[in-house]
């Protein structure tokens, strides 16, 4: 039988507001343990929450970017449970009346746009950070003692819940990349999984291909990169298929994914069912955003990443377009092309050489000149120029004046010297290891201090080794 994975994602986004969700403590890393705390976020008797207006606006903005309807009335509720990281004994979270509902995100694929429904996006406060010392598992059970750092407690979190519309680990990865880019472009979070400002849980089940049933799902937690999310989903899908194919039943369970071993470890089942006893938080009034605010926020939205991928796809291919957009490089790309650069060449240079560079700081006109001159100027000059392209006042002119050595007469003796120094590799190449071409080119480039034109060198090496065979 052929099986279809059915995956829903729950994403937590830590907002980078200046202050916490319900108090004026600084929101952010850097302070020593328990230095960014006050009576409110420590849950002292009588302390009351006051909502952070910016956090509410950013949540609405994110909801709008995800195509959600904005609730005219959202209500914070209390989720009650005891845990040392929860100072009030309850978490304040939107529950049955969230701020954003019924959105959708289009994920461009080779076979068309795949739609992933957004069930809801709601605002809540984060718990504190606990460190369980001693014990084998690093969890509270068996620990000798536990340390709590309340700096993170009460920081604003948006939880996004998708429908069970993700049917492959690749779709999950693509969706998360688009989501992350959307969040980063809104300027509301750094959305870095490694730092925990973006957290992803996956609810995974499988069903026979063609069926529309929803079978028992398992929850995967603790995956701290997109790659691990994809690996975790693949591992869980394979596990469930194996269970069904051996005649078993999948039992609802929560698993931690261990990236190092690829193993899934079931968390110890709780003795009793969770009953969070939700009720509307009486210390807060409902969130009722005025229509003008919602419209203002909507007008501030950037063009959605999916639409931009489709636009770029017309001149590039889907993968290149996706890399540019999800890397936040597409606007630079478009400006560079508009400044006269060849589209594929510009895409390659930007995607391969400028990842991690602050694209907004780059002068596209200067970059376009570098792209056009990329084969003509020495590689060393190009490398140096691309390394400095985001610096203020960068000018391509000094680099454009340099010419790469393309004169074969000048290059031939150097090529000969390289061959002489590496007789073994020469023999291997002639024996069919044509992959060594790059090695020879690299050696010549090194000999010339990066001044040679690599395309010319490449042709020369190939000709010469062919000639003398």
């Amino acid at each position: 039988m052929s099986w279809q994975p059915v995956v829903g994602l729950e994403i937590h986004v830590q907002l980078k507001t200046r202050t916490k969700m319900f108090c004026r403590c600084a929101n952010g890393y850097g302070g020593g343990e328990n230095t960014q705390v006050c009576p409110v976020c420590l849950g002292y008797p009588g302390a009351l929450p006051v909502p952070n207006r910016t956090a509410i606006e950013w949540t609405l903005k994110l909801g709008l970017a995800l195509g959600c309807a904005i609730a005219p009335r959202a209500v914070f509720a209390r989720k009650n449970y005891f845990y040392p990281d929860l100072p009030k004994g309850y978490q304040i979270s939107q529950y049955d009346l969230p701020s954003c509902v019924n959105g959708r995100v289009l994920v461009p694929r080779g076979d068309g746009d795949h739609e992933i429904g957004i069930v809801r996006a709601h605002l809540e406060e984060d718990a504190a950070k606990t460190t369980h010392v001693g014990g084998r598992t690093g969890r509270i059970g068996g620990a000798e003692h536990s340390l709590v750092d309340f700096n993170r407690g009460g920081t604003p979190l948006v939880e996004i819940v998708t429908g069970p519309h993700v049917h492959s680990s690749e779709d999950a990865r693509r969706f998360l990349q688009l989501l992350r880019q959307t969040i980063v472009e809104l300027g509301i979070s750094d959305a870095e999984m490694e730092k925990g400002t973006l957290r992803v849980d996956a609810n995974v089940s499988v069903r026979p291909e063609g069926s529309d049933e929803l079978r028992t799902r398992c929850e995967l937690k603790n995956m701290n990169s997109f790659r691990f999310v994809a690996q975790g989903i693949d591992a869980e899908v394979a596990r469930q298929i194996a269970v069904y194919e051996s005649g078993g039943e999948v039992v609802q369970e929560t698993y931690d994914f261990d990236a190092a071993t690829g193993a899934l470890t079931a968390r110890r089942s709780k003795e009793e069912a969770d009953d969070y006893r939700y009720f509307p938080e009486p210390d807060l009034v409902p969130v009722e955003p005025p229509a003008e605010l919602v419209e203002r926020l909507r007008a501030e939205l950037p063009e959605p990443p999916a639409a931009r991928i489709r636009r770029l796809e017309a001149e590039l291919d889907l993968d290149r377009a996706t890399v540019l957009v999800t890397g936040g490089l597409d606007r630079l790309y478009e400006a560079t092309v508009a400044a006269g650069a060849d589209s594929v060449a510009a895409a390659n240079v930007i995607a391969n050489r400028l990842a991690g560079v602050d694209a907004r700081a780059v002068d596209a006109a200067e970059l376009a000149q570098l792209v056009e001159a990329r084969d003509r100027i020495p590689r060393g000059a190009l490398d140096e120029a691309l390394g400095k392209v985001a610096e203020p006042g960068f000018s391509a002119a000094p680099y454009l004046e340099q010419e790469a050595v393309s004169d074969t007469a000048e290059l031939e003796p150097i090529v000969a010297r390289v061959f002489a120094a590496h007789p073994g590799q020469v023999a291997a190449y002639r024996g069919g290891k044509e992959g060594l071409l790059g090695f020879f080119v690299g050696q010549v480039m090194k000999e010339t201090g990066g001044q040679a034109n690599p395309r010319v060198v490449s042709e020369l090496v190939r000709e010469q080794l062919a000639d003398e065979s």
Binding site: L48, Y90, R277, F279
Partner: protein, 476 residues
């Protein structure tokens, strides 16, 4: 040389006069009350702790002293809410009302006794022993704010702050024979006040007369950025002047004046007050609040415990207050809460946890909130015909210590008449209206939201006409 201060009779307004004329200093005033406390409080146990005078930064050299119920956080001063759980807990911040009192130059005399976490109607639930009624020390002062009410009546404070969830200001004021206001929900900040039931808790003044009560409200009321449920008063508090009630329409809700359990002496005192109101020019008519009275108490005992079960979850032994150590976290929490909470908080936590549980929420908490809307509408309808509604504050005069302690339901019925308007978020004023069996009877005046000024005018006019002597007979 300072004037002789008769703390039993001195009103806050008079004290302000003495201070303004420099006939007494704030420190001397404070000392006079501490002396009275030293003399009478060993018997009455109104205070859990007293404080020496601290020279304030007021340009006028400070003002009238005040007593604060021990649910109100005071920076640097132990605040227990009457519970072992918070024994030794010293807040690092002032409640907004405490801060406003200090900013107005009021010196804090001390923290007054309360039923544990303000849960009770007699102060018998205080972990630190009950307070006693200054009119008869064999009897309770009411609760939960019995300490504040008894202190004011016994001349151990010119005025005090209480907190009221279902009657904890009005009922003790009735039983002790003074004036207590539960303000409109949202007009006084709850920030820093140990929470019992957030959607019902209100802070309010207890005073010897209506004008002092109004004066104290003007000090504490108004929007607070730290409490998002607060609003600005639509009009400033006015000290009442009028001595007649011409044109006033008084409604007498049948169910609240004929309820089973209202003592004949209480009913008679209220009837005399209504007769007096007519003589002062008021029109008095009957009205009905059938659902408010029939369902008010039951719904209150779903909503208040539900919120309390959540509000009291923070007492887990992790950060402050009592901790009973154990090997595991959950065991530490269980032991701490078992040792720290008395029977009444435990009873209400269990009731509330049940009412919020999955499968029961709709039938209990959800339904009670709907009834609350019905109660609010029923009151609003009555206020289309009447300016104020009147009833006894408490069905009985002060009862004896131990009389109801073993029967929680009988104790809960003490609040039968105060609860409906609390559920509707409405202001209510207790004014003493006479004696029954030598004990004070309280008249409850209920008004629409934000009608405090009207309540003060009515209360003031009746107070003048009634001529009630707020000093307990045995202390005169």
């Amino acid at each position: 040389m300072s004037a002789v201060v008769d703390t039993l009779r001195l009103t806050a307004e008079e004290a302000n006069g003495l201070l303004a004329r420099r006939e007494v200093t704030a420190a001397e005033l404070h000392e006079a009350y501490l002396a009275a406390i030293a003399e009478r409080d060993p018997e009455l146990h109104c205070y859990l702790r007293t404080l020496p005078y601290e020279a304030g930064e007021e340009p006028n050299g400070g003002g009238v002293p005040i007593a604060l119920k021990d649910v109100i956080s005071t920076k640097g001063v132990e605040t227990t809410a009457g519970s072992r759980m918070l024994e030794g807990y010293v807040p690092v911040f002032d409640a907004t009302v405490a801060e406003r009192c200090r900013a107005a130059g009021l010196s804090v005399l001390g923290k007054t006794n309360t039923d544990e976490f303000a849960m009770g109607s007699s102060t018998e639930n205080s972990a630190f022993g009950p307070s006693r009624n200054p009119w008869d020390p064999e009897r309770v002062p009411g609760g939960s704010g019995g300490g504040s009410a008894a202190a004011v009546s016994a001349g151990l404070a010119p005025w005090a702050l209480g907190s009221d969830t279902g009657g904890s200001i009005k009922q003790p004021s009735a039983l002790c024979g003074n004036v207590g206001l539960r303000p409109t929900y949202g007009t006084v900040s709850r920030y820093g006040v140990v929470a019992f039931a957030s959607s019902l808790d209100q802070i309010g003044p207890v005073a010897r007369n209506v004008r002092d009560c109004a004066l104290l409200l003007s000090i504490i009321a108004g929007k607070d950025e730290c409490d998002s449920t607060t609003v600005e008063l639509p009009e400033p508090v006015r000290l009442p002047e009028r001595e007649d009630l011409t044109g006033l329409r008084i409604g007498v809700p049948k169910e609240m004046n004929e309820a089973e359990g209202i003592e004949p002496g209480v009913a008679a005192a209220v009837a005399r007050a209504l007769e007096l109101a007519r003589e002062l020019g008021a029109e008095v008519g009957d009205c009905e609040l059938p659902r408010s009275v029939e369902y008010g108490l039951a719904c209150y005992y779903l909503i208040a415990p539900a919120e309390a079960s959540s509000n009291l979850a923070r007492y887990d032994g992790v950060r402050y207050g009592l901790r009973v150590d154990a090997d595991r976290f959950s065991e530490m929490v269980e032991r701490t809460r078992d040792a720290g909470f008395g029977d009444e908080p435990k009873r209400r936590i269990m009731l509330g946890t049940y009412a919020l549980s999955a499968g029961y929420y709709d039938a209990f908490y959800g339904q009670a909130q709907k009834v609350r809307t019905v109660i609010a509408r029923e009151h609003a309808a009555a206020f289309e015909q009447f300016d104020v509604l009147v009833s006894p504050t408490s069905p009985t005069v002060a009862f004896k210590l131990g009389e109801k302690a073993a029967n929680p339901l009988a104790m809960y019925l003490s609040d039968l008449l105060t609860i409906p308007s609390c559920m509707a978020g409405l202001p209510g004023l207790n004014v003493p209206c006479g004696l029954s069996e030598g004990l004070p009877v309280g008249l409850q005046l209920i008004g629409p939201q934000f009608s405090e000024n009207r309540l003060f005018e009515v209360g003031h006019a009746l107070e003048r006409a009634l001529g009630f002597d707020p000093v307990p007979e045995r202390l005169r």
